[in-house]
């Protein structure tokens, strides 16, 4: 067990290093243009260019540049945006993170509950029209671009049907901090939560159903039936519990990616000032330091979350516990 944890830790450190190197290379070693110009922004003065070159050490070899960059990102945290008049990047991300976390946690709750319900019901009623209907719904959910679905949701709740009793409670676009007004926070986020959850409900319910159906052919499911257990107990305690192993590993990955900025499109459409929207704004201003910082932040988060999932895995699946 201890060895397993240590090895996992080593892997995590390695992947973290790999990601930082990858991101660094993408931003500063792509063949084509001078990274100085990219960081300084459009129409920068020669003085700014020179200052940037000095600050990031672009006249020195690549490993030194990499080290400088990492120092500015994680140690001194003084990476500043040139486009945005010297705004420090790291605190900006820290301010945006709670919004993203709020959005993703709510959506995750919705998608986990609904997809388990849908997947289990569909598997229990395999071959019936309920099964086919639920799976078709899931497939449609997977097929919708999230930013488009968000726009349609806005059209319905903010404009077309906003005056009816159904949607009159929906506040205008934007975010209300939880600490300021919990109820307002909830109201502002319900529609984004649902929109963000739709695709994942589709994916997870389909994966879960496929898993449960595959499991129903397993020997241990036959044993459970031969024991004289009720179908519900067989499906939930034996089937669903075994499927949870796959489910959790999938969930960890997606959750981490979303918190790390994967919810960008939803944040943009609903005007939520989270990490994703920050990236989007940086994108429109071509604010390279900010983008690089958000990408790095998200990657670090994803890697750490994956490590947590793997440790969770140890508790969920006794086979993994011994294999490592």
């Amino acid at each position: 067990m201890m060895m397993a944890l240590l090895r996992r830790l080593g892997q995590t450190v390695f992947v973290l290093f790999g990601i930082s190197a990858l991101v660094f290379l993408v931003f500063f070693a792509t063949p084509g243009a001078d990274p100085t110009a990219r960081i300084a922004g459009r129409n920068a003065s020669p003085q700014t260019m020179e200052k940037v070159r000095q600050e990031y050490g672009f006249d020195r070899p690549l490993p030194v540049q990499y080290a400088t960059m990492m120092k500015k990102l994680f140690i001194t945290q003084d990476l500043a945006s040139y486009v945005d008049r010297g705004e420090l990047v790291v605190p900006e991300i820290a301010r945006a993170a709670p919004v993203t976390v709020s959005l993703v946690c709510g959506a995750a709750l919705i998608w986990v509950v609904l997809s388990i319900a849908m997947g289990t019901i569909a598997a229990a009623l395999k071959g019936t029209w309920i099964d086919r209907g639920l799976m078709m719904l899931g497939l449609i959910g997977i097929s919708m671009p999230v930013f488009w679905l968000g726009q349609v949701a806005n059209l319905i709740t903010q404009s077309r049907y906003h005056d009816t009793w159904l949607f009159s409670w929906v506040p205008g676009l934007g975010y209300v901090p939880l600490t300021e007004n919990p109820w307002g926070w909830f109201k502002a986020l319900v529609i984004p939560w649902i929109v963000l959850a739709v695709m994942f409900i589709g994916i997870y319910s389909r994966v879960l159903r496929a898993d449960l159906v595959a499991l129903s052919g397993e020997d241990f499911m036959r044993t459970a039936r031969a024991k004289g257990l009720s179908p519900t107990r067989i499906l939930l305690r034996h089937g669903l519990r075994t499927s949870m192993v796959t489910f959790v590993s999938l969930f960890g990955l997606d959750f981490a990616q979303l918190v790390g900025g994967g919810a960008l499109l939803t944040e943009v459409v609903f005007g939520l000032p989270g990490v994703g929207r920050l990236t989007y704004q940086a994108l429109t201003n071509l604010d390279l330091p900010l983008i690089m910082a958000t990408v790095m932040y998200s990657a670090v988060f994803v890697v750490l979350a994956n490590a947590v999932v793997d440790i969770l895995y140890l508790f969920l699946d006794p086979r993994v516990r011994d294999a490592r």
Partner: protein, 390 residues
């Protein structure tokens, strides 16, 4: 644990008559099991032998009501203590499963749910059928594991399936099957996935169950050796039909069906000159849809002739007699033209005996008993000596 009191001999524990199972495929019904009949008495061990695909597992699954593929057709009758199993509602079946009829499976590797401990899974079965607290159930579990010869049962109960060896897992499986003291145990190839040394231990365990637990066993296997060692009665299935049935020594000593004879011939002899090459049965069993109209074994049979080929398949005819057995109300027994003073106990679905050219006996009884503990099974030496009516 006290064994149940056996009812009078006239009502067998399990009476299967004309069991047919067909699965739908591409708009037609494929008969997998056709007109299988047998009876299983209290504390009997019946061996169901056949190649893979002969329908032996399907028969067992049908008895347990575990076949739930859409459109499957199960006809005939299977009386378990007078209760009809065929067509019994699932709710009622569920009460029988695990408590009255238990099953153990071929591969103990995959037969336990991987994410729970062995003990949890045995507790679960006990608590599904009896009102016991967790603690009481666990106490029974540990006791059962100990009786099955599991070392350190209390700790083993807390282990996960993958942490145990195949033999231990199969012992745990049997402990689980016996946890509610069932009167019938169906064992589907219980030793196939195990090492040879462990096989023998598990077979010993199964044989001892009838004295310690009073259980009858329906043992499904493809291994004639396992049958010879374990079973009182043998039923040979070929391509979904009964080829031959009878008391094990009678059938082994004097097979009435060419298929049985061929199967036995392919077992290496224990003593005597070593054959240069063991005879094998040429060809493969027919697919269910390509079954011949007449005898299913005809295409591979060395004795095949014109009367074997037309439909219907040859009926079971008596080939062996047991002078000491009580009279039976068996339909085939009355049909039989040759029933001198004794009642038939062995039947084969072959035209040869009726044509007056039965197969020659394979072994004399003395040869058989020399290599086997035949006395334990309770059949007197004369049981087949007189079994030559023609």
């Amino acid at each position: 644990m006290p064994a149940e009191i056996a009812p009078p001999m006239t009502a067998p524990l399990l009476d299967v008559r004309d069991l047919c199972v067909s699965f739908p495929s591409r708009g037609r019904m494929i008969p997998i099991v056709e007109h299988v009949s047998f009876t299983l008495g209290e504390r009997d061990i019946l061996g169901l032998v056949g190649e893979s695909g002969s329908g032996k597992s399907v028969t067992a699954m049908a008895l347990m009501g575990l076949i739930d593929s859409p459109g499957v057709q199960i006809t005939g009758s299977a009386l378990f203590r007078g209760q009809e199993l065929v067509g019994m509602p699932q709710k009622q079946l569920r009460r029988l499963r695990g408590r009255e009829i238990a099953m153990i499976f071929q591969d103990p590797m995959t037969a336990f749910t991987p994410v729970y401990t062995i003990g949890w899974q045995i507790d679960e079965q006990i608590r599904a059928h009896e009102r016991l607290s967790r603690k009481q159930a666990r106490a029974r579990t540990v006791e059962l594991l100990a009786e099955m010869g599991v070392p350190d049962p209390a700790r083993t109960a807390d282990r996960y399936p993958h942490q145990l060896s195949g033999g231990l897992r199969q012992r745990a499986m049997i402990a689980m099957a016996l946890s509610c003291n069932p009167s019938l145990l169906i064992a589907d190839e219980p030793t196939t996935a195990l090492d040879v040394t462990v096989q023998a231990q598990i077979l010993d365990l199964i044989r001892s169950l009838r004295s310690t637990y009073g259980s009858s066993v329906l043992l499904i296997t493809h291994d004639m050796g396992v049958v010879a060692e374990t079973c009182d009665t043998t039923l040979v299935l070929y391509s979904g039909r009964v080829a031959e049935t009878g008391p094990t020594e009678v059938l082994f000593a004097h097979p009435g069906h060419p298929y049985t004879a061929a199967l036995l011939a392919s077992i290496p002899p224990l003593d005597g000159p070593r054959p240069h090459r063991l005879p094998a049965i040429a060809g493969a069993p027919p697919a269910p849809l390509e079954r011949p109209a007449g005898c299913a074994f005809a295409p591979r049979c060395t004795y095949v002739h014109d009367t074997c080929l037309p439909a219907p398949p040859p009926p079971l005819v008596p080939t062996g007699y047991d002078p000491l057995a009580a009279p039976q109300d068996d339909a085939t027994a009355q049909v039989s033209a040759a029933a001198p003073s004794t009642q038939p106990v062995q039947f084969a679905a072959c035209v040869l005996p009726a044509e007056g050219t039965p197969l020659p006996p394979r072994l004399t009884y003395s040869e058989l008993s020399a290599g086997d503990e035949a006395d334990a099974t309770g059949f007197p030496p004369s049981s087949f000596a007189a079994g030559e009516p023609h």
